[in-house]
């Protein structure tokens, strides 16, 4: 979704790519960007993003920044165990997605939270 043509990059590489291949897109990213593998039919295309797409969270490390899938019931998460926004039908409470809310709270469908 985010391909920005940089004059300094050879035509084969787009956006934040450091190295790339015609067949698999970005193989490595410029510093501080996250590499994400987009599924394209049978192929996986690497893209370099400033943040991981919805449903994934980013982990930074000195040499590579990667995207990892959140839990299935979570749309957007900080890490594997802390959700920030749940899928429809689930309600967020203290970072977890639940199908119902504790007694003292109410399920809000618009916010998908226990409020």
């Amino acid at each position: 979704r985010q391909h920005k043509q940089n004059p300094g990059v050879s035509s084969g590489c787009q956006g934040g790519c450091l190295t790339c291949s015609d067949y698999n897109g970005c193989l490595s990213c410029k510093p501080r960007l996250f590499i994400f593998l987009e599924r394209n039919g049978m192929r996986q295309m690497g893209v370099c993003l400033p943040s991981c797409p919805s449903g994934f969270y980013g982990t930074r490390s000195p040499d590579r920044n990667t995207c990892t899938k959140c839990r299935p019931e979570c749309d957007s998460c900080f890490n594997k165990n802390l959700c920030m926004r749940c899928r429809a039908g689930y309600y967020l409470h203290l970072g977890k997605c639940q199908e119902s809310c504790p007694e003292s709270l109410v399920c809000s469908d618009t916010q998908r939270e226990c409020v």
Partner: protein, 516 residues
């Protein structure tokens, strides 16, 4: 779906959009990666999601978002932003998510974000922030997630976070923090996740984690800690703890006795030389324990109460004995790696019914008894190589009906029992130099790969190489006929035997020792 709040009329109206953006009818506008140098104009006032990341916007002037009172998510990542006017974000009272990562900010734009009362997620990672002004997050009472990783902080911003009682997740990873003072996170009672990995943390205050009564994940990996972080005793809800790749030499007695909910502990790549025997007791949620190279460790850790361990790796120690009652505690254990220790005798692993893999290579084991592996009907892999084994009880493998890989190489065996090994696929016997008899595999129907001490022992499996010289032709004719008929059917089944016989390693066992 269309959100009534955003449009007020409940019908879908064509989205007002800017030429450099693509807009959807929900009020989302994507203007990312378009080479923009300023915030686009001409967008709907009802825009609730605006993505202008990966452009060339280096500054945000005052009131630049005043026409977006309903904005909930604003993405400004990857713009080389170096200056945000104090009034740049004013009016965004419904903003929940603000993404400023991958820019050139040198400090937290505290005045600009002061009045974002609804803000829940603030990303400031991957900038060049060296300072966090005291009042940075003052107005942000709803803040839950804060990214400050991959910056140039040299200390924990204790003051600025003093009032963040709703904060659930904080990352300060990939900075230059060298120590954590006492009470650094004292008021963060809702914090669940704290990442501090890839800093330069050498020492931490004994009560530096006081106040974090809801913390579940603590990541201290890749730092310079010299001593065990005793401060974790203030974390009763801790589930995930990482301090691998530090400089910790000892795990003390009772190290985790105040963290009964621990599920994972990552402590590899530390120069561990001592581990207290009571360190890992009563951790009933712990599924995996990996301890490598605690070279001074002499006693097997006591694991009573840690009864849901599925994987135990304990290698490179001076441990000489395994407790007899090990399997009374570890009933669900699936993989056991006790290689590279000094174990002489094996207890019976009878109670560990779920065991699938056992690695005991590189110890001082001398014999296998009848009940050592009794009852292990799930065992698939058994590595006993590089020990001092002389005898194996004839019924030792009787119950290992699904064992596929057996490595007995580099021992002192003269023979091996094969009863029970009906599923064996790979067998290694190399280096058992006293094992000279011709090896037959009648009771190993599934054998596919075998390595034997001497090449001539492979003749029973693979027949001899056709390129052998004429003199070998005569030797072949004189071979025992009964031997061939019984195994003709079996030979073609075994795919690989080593060392394979050849011109200089003939099949015939010449003059009692083929080496002459």
């Amino acid at each position: 779906s269309l959100r009534n709040g955003a449009t007020g009329q409940g019908q879908s109206t064509p989205a007002i959009c800017s030429s450099s953006c693509s807009c959807d009818e929900d009020g989302g506008a994507d203007c990312s990666g378009k080479g923009l140098t300023t915030v686009p104009t001409g967008l709907s006032a009802f825009t609730y999601y605006l993505d202008i990341s990966m452009n060339n916007i280096t500054e945000l002037p005052a009131f630049v978002f005043k026409t977006f009172p309903y904005l909930e998510e604003l993405r400004l990542a990857g713009n080389d932003l170096s200056f945000i006017h104090p009034d740049a974000l004013s009016g965004l009272h419904q903003l929940k998510v603000l993404m400023l990562q991958n820019n050139q900010l040198k400090t937290v734009p505290s005045t600009a974000i002061k009045n974002l009362y609804s803000l829940q997620s603030l990303r400031l990672d991957a900038n060049h922030i060296t300072t966090v002004p005291e009042d940075s997050f003052e107005g942000l009472q709803q803040l839950r997630h804060l990214w400050l990783d991959d910056n140039s902080l040299t200390e924990v911003p204790v003051g600025p976070m003093r009032h963040q009682a709703n904060l659930q997740a904080l990352t300060l990873a990939l900075n230059r923090i060298t120590h954590i003072p006492n009470n650094a996170f004292a008021n963060l009672s809702s914090l669940v996740v704290l990442h501090l990995h890839n800093n330069r943390i050498k020492e931490i205050g004994e009560s530096c984690f006081t106040g974090l009564e809801n913390l579940e994940t603590l990541d201290l990996n890749f730092n310079n800690l010299m001593t065990f972080p005793e401060a974790i005793q203030a974390l009763p809800k801790l589930k995930e703890l990482g301090f691998h790749s530090n400089d910790i030499a000892a795990v003390p007695e009772g190290a985790f006795h105040k963290n009964p909910l621990l599920r994972t502990i990552h402590l590899y790549d530390n120069p561990l030389s001592f581990v207290g025997t009571s360190a890992f007791q009563n951790l009933s949620d712990l599924h995996s324990l990996m301890l490598r190279g605690a070279s001074m460790m002499q006693e097997f850790p006591c694991l009573t109460g840690t009864n849901n361990l599925e994987s135990l790796t304990l290698t490179g120690t001076k441990i000489a004995a395994i407790p007899v009652e090990l399997c009374e505690d570890l009933k669900v254990l699936r993989t056991l790696d006790l290689s590279y220790n000094e174990i002489e005798e094996l207890p019976s692993f009878q109670g560990c019914l779920k065991l699938q893999e056992i690695s005991l290579q590189h110890n001082h084991i001398q014999q296998i008894d009848r009940d050592t592996f009794q009852g292990l009907s799930a065992l698939r892999l058994l590595d006993l190589s590089r020990n001092e084994m002389k005898t194996i009880h004839r019924d030792a493998f009787l119950y290992l009906t699904v064992l596929t890989n057996l490595d007995l190489s580099l021992n002192s065996l003269t023979s091996i029992p094969t009863t029970g090994l009906s599923s064996l696929n790979q067998l290694k016997l190399t280096g058992n130099l006293q094992m000279k008899n011709v090896f037959t595999a009648k009771s190993l129907p599934k054998l596919r790969s075998v390595s034997v001490p001497y090449a001539y022992q492979c003749c029973a499996f693979v027949g001899c190489d056709s390129s052998t010289s004429s003199t070998d032709e005569n030797i072949k004719k004189r071979r025992d006929k009964k031997f061939i008929e019984k195994d003709v059917e079996r030979i073609s089944m075994v795919m690989h035997c080593s060392p394979s016989p050849g011109a200089f390693k003939p099949c015939e066992h010449l003059l009692g020792s083929w080496m002459i």
